[in-house]
Amino acid sequence: MPSARDAAPRRVPRLGIVIPARNEAQRIATVLGSVPERIDGITERLVIVVDDGSTDDTAEVARSHGVLAVRHVVNLGKGAALTTGCLAALDAGCDIIAVMDADGQHEAGDLPRLVDPVRLDRADLAIGVRPLSGQMPAAMRLGNWGLSTAFRLLFGLRVSDTQCGLRAFRAALYPRIQWHANDYSVETEMLIRATRAQLRIAQVEVGTVYHDRYKGTTVGDGVKIFGDMLRFAISR
């Protein structure tokens, strides 16, 4: 595993795009089709779909699109799937790792803008920020606002959207932000570890598409994420 000493990005870095997916056979093709073939300053890109114990053909559909698909034989959770994907990206020699959701809520066209701060060495971690208006459902808007406010109060960092799953970071810094959460707490834990490691964090406004069929974080997840924030704050 690369050490932080190797953190300086190469002139033409290799990008790994990790997409955790569960039962997304219907949407994954569209998502993969929307990932840009060419990203400025990136020599090559490797798309890694982590099928997290799907009961449908998610992995097969992904493979048919020529991407690397690894499969959890049972469902472990989003955080665990991201870990597996990041390990695969590191194994493939990627210099920058981007993560995005498989349900089509992220606009893959935002990837180049998200990767830019990391590629240009202006940030170690770039996080997507969804506007708290427009299409975002009111309950989710309230939840995001609450969690972001709690994060600011507990960790002293003003982050507009702590829960957005569209992110990019320097692969060599993965050991410093490596999360233990196997579930939807992964985004928060990644941010907390990055804050504590004093990494440079960039916030990039991204677009979001909300579908009728929502499978993301629930109210229960939100409560657990808040509990995890408290636990990290206490264990400071």
Partner: protein, 119 residues
């Protein structure tokens, strides 16, 4: 014999039967069977002969014997929940490691995406 005694006796007898059935189905190891059976027999004994234990509730400042049984039961339950939580966490970690190892062992022919065009 009070109503609560009868209920406790019934529960203890039922659990003895369930524990024995679990042993027969190989769902329990012998030492687990002995441990659980001892717990149910102790509960049965306390329910049938509550007066034999009256001597110990005074020094413990417990008014009724059943209160003592309830308190001890809660303590035992706390220990069990804690132990189960630890065991489950260990099991979860092992499962995650196994599933991840299997996932990362790429099947033959499942090669990564060919390199994209240069920037």
């Amino acid at each position: 014999m009070t109503g609560i005694q009868l209920i406790t006796i019934a529960v203890a007898l039922l659990m003895l039967f369930i524990t024995y059935s679990a042993l027969r189905r190989h769902e329990l190891r012998p030492y687990e069977y002995v441990t659980w059976s001892a717990i149910w027999l102790a509960l049965l004994f306390v329910s049938v002969f509550p007066d034999l234990l009256r001597g110990i509730i005074g020094p413990l400042h417990v008014i009724r014997l059943l209160d003592l049984v309830t308190i001890v039961g809660l303590l035992v339950m706390g220990v069990l929940v804690f132990s189960l939580n630890r065991a489950l966490r260990r099991l979860d970690d092992r499962l995650t490691a196994i599933v991840r190892t299997i996932a990362l062992e790429r099947p033959k022919g499942d090669e990564p995406t060919p390199p994209g065009p240069p920037a």
